[in-house]
Symmetry: C3
Subunit: 319 residues, 3 copies
């Protein structure tokens, strides 16, 4: 969709994290290894970025993503500034380009961007000088790479070998940047069986080209899967008419004590949050032993620390 | 009102600070001693909590409380994240429970909560794992324990011996979490004469069971008191019809140069802020020599540092 | 306009930075020298203010100014608290005076204030005790001293000798605190030829007393100038009817490839941001080689670090 060569230096090291598309298995594994090291040994002087500046620039509201990035950057000893756009120059009509060039001029090391337009992070990466890295924290319906990375890291903690897994993604793939990033990550990591379970109206046209299998219902789609990735119903991002809302959605696609039985008994359940209990998932499942939803949040900090740490280190000695 | 055993470990050490009700004199005095030590020796490596994360989660607006907590946590070298709820997942319909479980999954050490519902802090304390402490920064009309502690600490700086004091609380006790916490603290610290001066419509039904004496007017109520605790007219929290508003309130319950004379000449005047000058208090009194209102703010940082420091230390080696 | 003796200790050292009016050349040069030192040697233990608290108090929205102050304070290792006023006690009707006295009671070392009323920073400086410094980050149409200082520092990097320069200020001088501060700074630094180019309706009455020359159009006003200082059209601060809006303004006062040719070929172009591209400036000029607009932002951090560092150091050993 967007050129993904932009996220590398000429020697192949990671410069930005814009998308999972095209990110190599080796890059992902390096991030997972670093995250594991971070989880084990909380503080390390090797990961102290004492005079670095990390800026979060969120044009959409967020609790967990923004806060985990903020905690991650602080644990790396970086300075963090949060630019919340409603109280900022957006009021004065400043363009995204000017805002970003200003952040660059402030000698920010890392800009963490969330924006409602697909491609916004790529656009920003074009605007900044070589000394600055951009992390895409969600752009429109396009990508949310750190979410996919923390999801894969969580799966790897549980299963080790991706090449034996069946993974089902349930829900609103059409509007979901998370799903697109997950599908790319699962493919690169060698998952042989990637399934999407959704009503037809929530299936994007390009899905067939991504090598996933589409299932119309939970009973066939969940049969024998190891991993269930739920998506949030992005009601705020939806065009009307596309969606069997609320009760109706829950009846057909909600993960419940009944429908979870279609999957393997050892299957794990994940959700990027915030959950709509009683819409995508029954509360008993969300709080039950199969769910790794809070582990995902915990892992989110380690994975984001690993990404920020890698990008800042790569800035030194960049070609 | 809410079970207060929840705030202790099984060995009696403080785990959360949810309410003053049931908090022992020894616990309070330990906090006051620590606050005094902090005020004297600003920086101490023993109070450095270098990799701890403190989250403020405020569902009601606040300047002074939130900012003093933030400064207190920063002075303890902790990482601080502020979750302001209008720009957060509340927009996406996330429940308080899910928000808190997420903060817990982020391995936050301390959650500082303000919420409009009485009992919210108790509810949150039930949701978090053992590694996390909750500080109630105000829940509905129920409690505001750090406010009461800093008030008591301010009184102790002036008078040493609580057992000789007469204390009058003036104002809207009905809606005041501050008043409830103050009454519990004064009682536990042994103050023999606790008075409430308020119009009948602002007196809660349970007041008589708390061992306080009710006075209908300032002239009799302030007679010979050592300490005057003013309450803010919580106009934003009021049901209509309960209240002699503005001018009328000031005429009957406003502390002025005239009405202050009913108290002892050495009496001190306190207010939790923000003040409505010309409603609860005459400006000349607010800025005069009897007022300790700004000392309360200064003490608020030391007391909050003492509480956060104690809770984090208690987490280590907790049973 | 406001008494400027207030910003000094009795021995002449700087106590607050409220206005450029009356600030000596030696004070300015000391700030420029410190900023240069900061730019060269990023981190210095001599500039570490480990237990200091810097509060930003912004009653008007801002991205760049607030963020650069925040980064500057963090790079000095200070604790930073941001008070955004819509989510604060302003809702509860607290006065500016009470807010500031509270910040003072929190033992803040530096208060950075932006306010829509001219004179607000002077007012605040009167309210705080001796231990606290106030930096004016913009008050109404009065002053924006750190903006003028960073502008002068940027000019000095390019030209060394102020006594040989012709400088033109273009735009809405009437509403501009930036212009007033720039004119005072240029005058003090010895610039012999200060010009203002603006429609009559945007010229304040007091301009003639400031020793500047007024030009009605770009062709005569830009003739042979070294420095062009653009002002932002403060549309949000304008009384209606004063202004040839948008297209019309651009046609007469917009800096374009054509009008820039009136100036010297070596002329530099500056703008305090945020720019209205196509109103004050053609995009090709904004992004072209003459523009130092992003250098201004970079310099803003060093200059603000220098100012905060100087004020905190002056607090120690203040008479």
């Amino acid at each position: 969709m967007f050129k993904h060569k932009r996220q590398y230096y000429s020697d192949g090291r990671l410069k930005h994290l814009l998308t999972i598309e095209g990110l190599s298995k080796a890059h992902m594994q390096a991030i997972f290894d670093s995250a594991k090291n971070i989880s084990t040994h909380q503080f390390s002087p090797e990961r102290a970025h004492l005079n670095s500046v990390v800026a979060t620039l969120f044009y959409e509201p967020s609790t967990r993503t923004r806060t985990t990035f903020e905690i991650a950057a602080q644990k790396l000893q970086a300075h963090v500034v949060n630019l919340s756009v409603p109280t900022s120059s957006a009021l004065k009509g400043e363009t995204l380009r000017d805002t970003v060039q200003n952040l660059a001029a402030m000698q920010t090391n890392v800009i963490i961007l969330r924006h409602s337009s697909s491609g916004a992070a790529h656009f920003v990466a074009e605007q900044v000088p070589n000394s600055i890295s951009v992390i895409n924290a969600g752009d429109g319906c396009h990508a949310h790479p750190t979410q996919a990375l923390l999801d894969m890291y969580t799966i790897q903690q549980k299963f080790k070998d991706f090449s034996q897994l069946s993974v089902a993604i349930i829900g609103d793939v059409y509007h979901s940047r998370v799903a697109r990033s997950q599908i790319h990550a699962l493919t690169t990591l060698g998952v042989p069986d990637i399934r999407v379970i959704a009503p037809k109206t929530l299936l994007p046209a390009e899905l067939s080209s991504l090598g996933v299998t589409i299932y119309p219902d939970l009973q066939t789609g969940l049969n024998n899967v190891d991993v269930i990735l739920l998506l949030r119903l992005q009601q705020e991002r939806m065009q009307s008419g596309k969606l069997p809302i609320g009760d109706n959605y829950y009846r057909h696609y909600g993960l419940t004590e009944k429908t979870l039985r279609y999957a393997k008994p050892t299957a794990i359940v994940m959700h990027p949050g915030p959950m709509n209990r009683g819409v995508e998932i029954q509360s008993e499942i969300a709080d039950g032993p199969s769910a790794l939803i809070l582990e995902q949040v915990t892992n989110g900090i380690a994975v984001r620390m690993a990404v920020i740490d890698m990008l800042i280190k790569n800035q030194r000695g960049s070609p």
